[in-house]
Subunit: 356 residues, 2 copies
């Protein structure tokens, strides 16, 4: 049966970058991928058209899809919305939660062709290849109770950082399995010297470890992890952590490569249904100018082919095509430097297509 | 009246590094500082001697002191203590909470003499001088309810991230005032697109801003802040944030300098009573070998003189002495490199004393 792919361009540079990724998806269909594409609105675009960042029709299509390609959401236009539940981000969070996409894979990979882009010294980052596995549907992002209320004559804001054993176990298994396929090292990040919820986290990781005897499990406090990412990032293979710490550490790790415009991500549920999106944001300041780098979104398509569509060979073809284009010296503005040839968003997409 | 200084050597390298700092404190007394020194046990040392990481006698002395100099707490010896309330860290957290030391100042300063120690490219970090102002007695570190309990047949861990307006306001004022004395730029870090407690945080910072018209206030999400610290750290002057985000970001910022063995910190309450400690930990692996760098602790004494003892000139003398010693090429193991002269912990202390 034909697979269903839902494309959600979103806001800012979202429409431009997904357009290039769709070119590649169509090339995959020409190469034998049996898939149908559909498009829908999310984020600020959803709010503008239907008054909600996650319109019901979009959610219905998302639930029916095998895989979702998301551009990016958000922008200053919607930042002043008083009602937090209407903000573009809630479209994204709603998709994650409603589709139960608890397993967020965020690779931080340094492309040798782009080594100079890193702010870190070459010897510190050359060959960097970290996979951050972030829990995406629990923790403080979704914990109840939450809100702002009056207590003793003043306002108090509160959120709840909460994990159940079963939630920790399922993300733990994703991470252990990922480590088995990679360098067999798993570092679980917590703050077990202060937070009870992460004491439970650490306990569950330790309980799972004997089932994966080929994986070496270590634990690190989150403050130390932030430090070690700067000091010696190559010590990491797979990192597993909760929603909030994962948000922070994956962005830091991504930036170590100096080219966040290159980094894809996947968010999976238990049936391998997935949402795929670039790690970067909607970059409203450069939207519509052909300056955006579509490679993270194109590489997100590769992740989609590998994790949700069972097409690892097409995935590898896309990744090789991206490598070739970099070898040719083509660069969008964010990764350009003297001696390379700067191209626009669509020129970059076309170049990958030609190399595919 | 004579000032009271309480010295808490703590665990690991704590006793070695505080011993060097005490040499400098004594030199300050010779130079006119009217102060009495006393010592007490905390952390693992407190637990071993009295069964508690913050013995009552220590807490009483701490409350009576004008300033506290802390070495470091913790080590593998106590990591397996089942009862979290007996862990060395709880000694530190107990001091912070009981003395109401809500204002944590964590400078990340790159010493030009040590520029090579950074893992970042020189142009990215040269001249780096950030002050992180971290809220230290609230937020998720102390929020109730907290714990691990059975719910629906499985264990659930939970903590509460909570701030009242008044707590946000008082740390905000510390940060605005700090910015006024420095580069007049304040960046408040939150996650206001997801967490209600930080929506309130942002609101309070915005409310305070008009009272400090000479300070430029900006806001940044914590994931972006982690990224920007790696990408372009010199964009920051003063950063203000909550307890947990501050823990993570201050360690990342410290590591940008490559020499965390150089960085002091101060934790202050409303009456400028303060606890002063190096940013680094207790480093049990090198304890007792004369390898530890005492400079962060010595520079913590300088902060103490400036913020709690009203002796800015003595503070500046210490800072100049440290600069001179670095100029002389003396280095402890952590910051040594070819062409410098490696010295022991006590040799370093003596050198600062000679240069004072
Ligand atoms: C946009 C925001 C809600 C989101 C998050 O915090 O998860 C983003 O930062 C991310 O990491 O995907
Ligand atoms: C030891 C630990 C409890 C402490 C903290 O998390 O605050 C430390 O990391 C720090 O930053 O001073």
């Amino acid at each position: 049966m034909s697979k269903k792919i839902l494309v959600l361009p979103g806001d800012g540079i979202g429409p431009e970058i997904t357009a290039e990724a769709v070119k590649i998806l169509n090339a995959c269909r020409d190469a034998g991928l049996d898939a149908e594409l559909e498009e829908a609105l999310v984020g600020g675009a959803g709010f503008d058209a239907e008054g909600h960042p996650l319109p019901e029709s979009t959610l219905a299509k998302a639930k029916a899809a095998d895989a979702i390609l998301l551009g990016a959401v958000g922008g200053p236009k919607w930042d002043t919305l008083e009602d937090l539940s209407k903000r573009p981000e809630k479209g994204l969070l709603g998709l994650r939660k409603n589709l139960n996409l608890f397993g967020n894979l965020r690779p931080a990979l340094l492309y040798p062709q782009l080594a100079e882009a890193s702010t870190l010294k070459p010897e510190v980052v050359s060959g960097l290849d970290i996979m951050i596995v972030r829990e995406l549907t629990g923790g403080i992002y979704f914990g109840q109770p939450r809100g702002i209320e009056e207590r003793n004559g003043e306002r108090v804001g509160f959120n709840t950082y909460v994990y159940a054993e079963s939630e920790i176990e399922r993300i733990g298994r994703v991470a252990f399995e990922m480590a088995q396929k990679r360098g067999k090292k798993l570092c679980s990040v917590d703050k077990a010297n202060v937070l009870e919820v992460t004491i439970l986290w650490r306990e569950v990781m330790n309980r799972l470890a004997p089932e994966y005897p080929d994986v070496e499990l270590t634990h690190m406090y989150v403050d130390n992890a932030a430090m070690q990412l700067v000091r010696a990032p190559k010590q990491f293979d797979v990192v597993v952590t909760g929603n909030m710490f994962g948000d922070i550490l994956s962005d830091a790790a991504a930036m170590l490569t100096g080219s966040i415009g290159m980094l894809p991500s996947a968010s999976l549920n238990e049936r391998q249904q997935g949402m795929y999106e670039p790690c970067h944001g909607s970059a409203p300041d450069i939207a519509g100018q052909g300056l955006a780098n579509p490679l993270a979104t194109i590489l997100s398509v590769a992740m989609m082919l590998r994790y949700s569509l069972g097409e690892p060979q097409l995935a590898a073809r896309i990744e090789r095509a991206v490598g070739k284009v970099l070898d040719q010296g083509l660069r969008t503005a964010d990764i350009a430097y003297p001696g390379t040839r700067q191209v626009s968003t669509s020129e970059m997409g076309d170049a990958v297509l030609a190399a595919f």
